[in-house]
């Protein structure tokens, strides 16, 4: 039996890495006593599969994880209790917000997710400058960057990956530091995931991220590419918890 969960990552725990999160979940699953299936062989590992990595330091409303359960031990498992049961075992700032049973043939999260919505706060820059940079990027036909990959220079056009980019305007900064301007962006994850820091670096003038929050991950409907939905909706055969 395979389940897919959605979880959040806020506050201090945003400084844990993708690998750390994997370790945190392995232990939380054991503590919660979920009958996780293990791989065979000399070093058995729990069968869990994460979606797109979240950069260390970024927060999220919508992280996803697929977990294989041992079908012989799932009797009496209440899917409705699962979010609370797992959240109890997660560190402060992490909570499971939904859990569904999915079909084992469901496309993996890595493949299924096609874009993400990001809330990006930049600092030490005024709203007009940010608006100008965004307008120039959206008007441009291409946003070419060169980066080094395996010792070779590669050029990439980031523009096709920018599905939307809006200035939400200045926001109140609760802590010290200059003014903050908030952006909303939908960035493609296929054929490769466009990173927030890459996009900000390619703007004119380049902007520096202060706080970044992933709001959504999207999958596209196989029959109608304009219809997008969350990885839970797309795969759910039984839906539990908030969506």
């Amino acid at each position: 039996m395979r389940i897919r969960i959605r979880f959040t990552k806020h506050g201090k725990v945003r400084f844990t890495s993708h690998r750390d999160v994997a370790r945190i979940f392995q232990r939380a699953l054991r503590r919660a006593g979920l009958p996780v299936a293990y791989s065979q062989g000399f070093s058995p590992r729990p069968k869990i599969a994460f979606g797109l990595a979240l950069s260390t330091g970024h927060e999220s409303e919508a992280e996803y994880l697929d977990i294989d359960l041992d079908p012989e031990r799932t009797a009496g498992l209440e899917m409705g209790d699962l979010p609370a049961r797992l959240s109890n075992e997660l560190p402060e700032g992490m909570a499971v917000t939904a859990a569904v049973i999915i079909d084992r043939r469901t496309v993996s999260l890595q493949q299924a997710v096609t874009s993400c919505t990001w809330q990006i706060d930049v600092v030490d820059v005024d709203a007009n400058t940010v608006a100008g940079a965004v307008a120039r990027a959206l008007a441009a036909e291409s946003l070419v960057v060169t980066r080094e990959r395996k010792g070779r220079e590669v050029t990439d056009d980031l523009r096709p990956g920018v599905l939307s980019l809006d200035v939400e305007g200045p926001v109140e900064a609760e802590e010290h530091g200059g003014s903050r301007v908030r952006l909303l962006a939908e960035l493609a994850t296929q054929p490769r995931a466009l990173r927030v820091s890459e996009l900000l670096g390619a703007l004119d003038p380049p902007l520096v991220e202060h706080r970044v929050l992933r709001l959504h991950q999207w999958t596209t409907n196989e029959t109608d590419a304009r219809q997008r939905s969350s990885p839970l909706h797309a795969a759910a055969s039984a839906l539990v918890g908030a969506t």
Binding site: T16, S17, D20, Q26, R30, R31, G41, P44
Partner: protein, 665 residues
Amino acid sequence: MSVSLWPRLENLLPQVQKPARYIGCEQGAQTPAHGDGVVSWLLTYPDAYEIGLPNQGLQILYEIINERDDAAAERAYCPWTDLEALLKREQIPLFSVDTHRPAGAFDVIAFNLSAELTYTNLLNCIDLAGVPIHSVSRADSDPLIGVGGHCTYNPEPIADFVDFVVLGDGEEVVGEITELVREWKGTGRSDGSRRALLRELSKVAGVYVPSMYRVTYDGAFIAEVTPRHADVPATVEKRTVADLAKWPYPKQQLVPLTEVVHDRLSVEVFRGCTRGCRFCQAGMITRPVRERPAEQVRTMISDGLARTGYDEVALTSLSTADFSGIQQVIGETISDAGCDQVSVALPSLRVDAFTVGIAAEIQRARRTGLTFAPEAGSWRMRQVINKLIREEDLYGAVESAYSQGWRRMKLYFLTGLPTETDEDTLGIAELARNCAALGRRHHSSPSVTVSVGGFVPKPFTPFQWFGQNTVVELSRKIGLLREDLRYSKGVQLKWHDPKATLAEGIASRGDRRLGSVIEYVWRKGGTFQEWSEHFNYDLWLEAMAASGCDVDWYVHRHRTDDEVLPWDHLSAGLHKDFLWQDWRDSLNELGLEDCRWTPCYDCGACTGYGIEHVVASASPPAGGSQGTGVDLSRGGAVPVVLGERPRAASSGDGPQSRPLVGVGS
């Protein structure tokens, strides 16, 4: 009341490596309330988070203090160099990871000292806390600086920097210190009251207050160390917890969110060791042996696994295979775990086939490597150091391991031991080659990794009088091994940097005059000296020269029995004449059997404190020679000879007449 530093800190963390080291949030972490009637402790490990977090001593005290109504404990670790630079730039002090409270806001900053090379980090942490590094310069409003841990059996090199030192087990004494500090806090820390508090602390058993003692010198030598006041004890005895069963800590072992060393559940099965290995300070200073009841071990394992979610448990002690009923505990752990995958780690394997049998039971899968510590290359040398393992024991263990599926053996050795000859050193290579040959009977490409460390004589061991080998001599011996093992198939040699061994030797047996050396190294930026990429040998030599301290005199000189040692006013319970006799026996190549199953040698550890070994079984564990030199079949009893302890035949040119000077290199 202090404000959390987190809002300022979180802006810096995106700029540093591994920021999760600084966030706390571990499972089991506490956010205690602070207040007027509450003594606040900042328990600090003076190294990086990933090294310090697993420290069990620190975690035990963290829980015990937080269980008190009148105390609160938080934790701190050394910020790595990248964050340290940012903290200095932004003028942010050292902070706790639990609530990000500034270190200077705590009543006590207490350090665990497990390695001498962290001494410069100790100074760095005190400085980053905004506290004067010299005890004498601190104001009544400054936190008290305390230290504990194995290194503090000779705290003299850091005596000028600390306010108090705890010797031995901390479980009980931490409460007694809390009560005195609480009273002091209650009186409002009036002018000059700090000194009165320190004097009160000096009267607590197990607490040493260096400023209450005067050291006088006779030339280069110490003439005497005397209390400054009549009510300050002349000798400070260590603290020993008699019954481990009363202290089932940690009850909520911290589970870190990010990668650390020893990332698994740890359950301490006993404290103390009477194998009597003469190079081993831990075995000497933690006597007597105190076993935890097997039933409690089981409970701590099952509760701990359920609470932490770990899939691995380490049974810790100085020689876990010696735990009475080890087989039963392991068998039950494996079967209790049911369908969950749990592995058991024995960090200190004894060298015999029986122990490998236990390992086979617990490592049904993942049989990759096993580690043994024969420590020396010849039977003669092992008698000198009292590591009484026969070659047959080692070969039996290795053969058993290879035949049961393990492919990689790791063998730990020391070099630079007293009376060591080139023949003894080269014996290491011979043992390794023979082990590899045994492996080839079972596998096509078995591997043997030989790890050689330079020997550093430690206080409160029979080798405390021995002059440590020089860097040149240690390098020569490592060179001999490299040459000899050059064409040995399947044997890899690794060695510890002899220069780091020297620096450790400087701090290990130094006196108060070494304080300026440590301060010099720290002021020149010499922190994280345990890390090879930061270790700075030239800086240590420069510091010694600048302070007028002679390396030969401090490190390479043999001491005589009439010399006042810098730690003579402290006591680990061991009689100095026992240690001296053991040193003489060592030079006579006389082994000393484990006193758990032989008559008492009166080392002083039991009698002095009115406690005894707490062991569930007084018969030795089965298998191997158990130091008797004869093979004991499973379950066999060790022949016990009542009467006088064995002596070497004292013929004219016998080993007893070997002069002390000229030993070793």
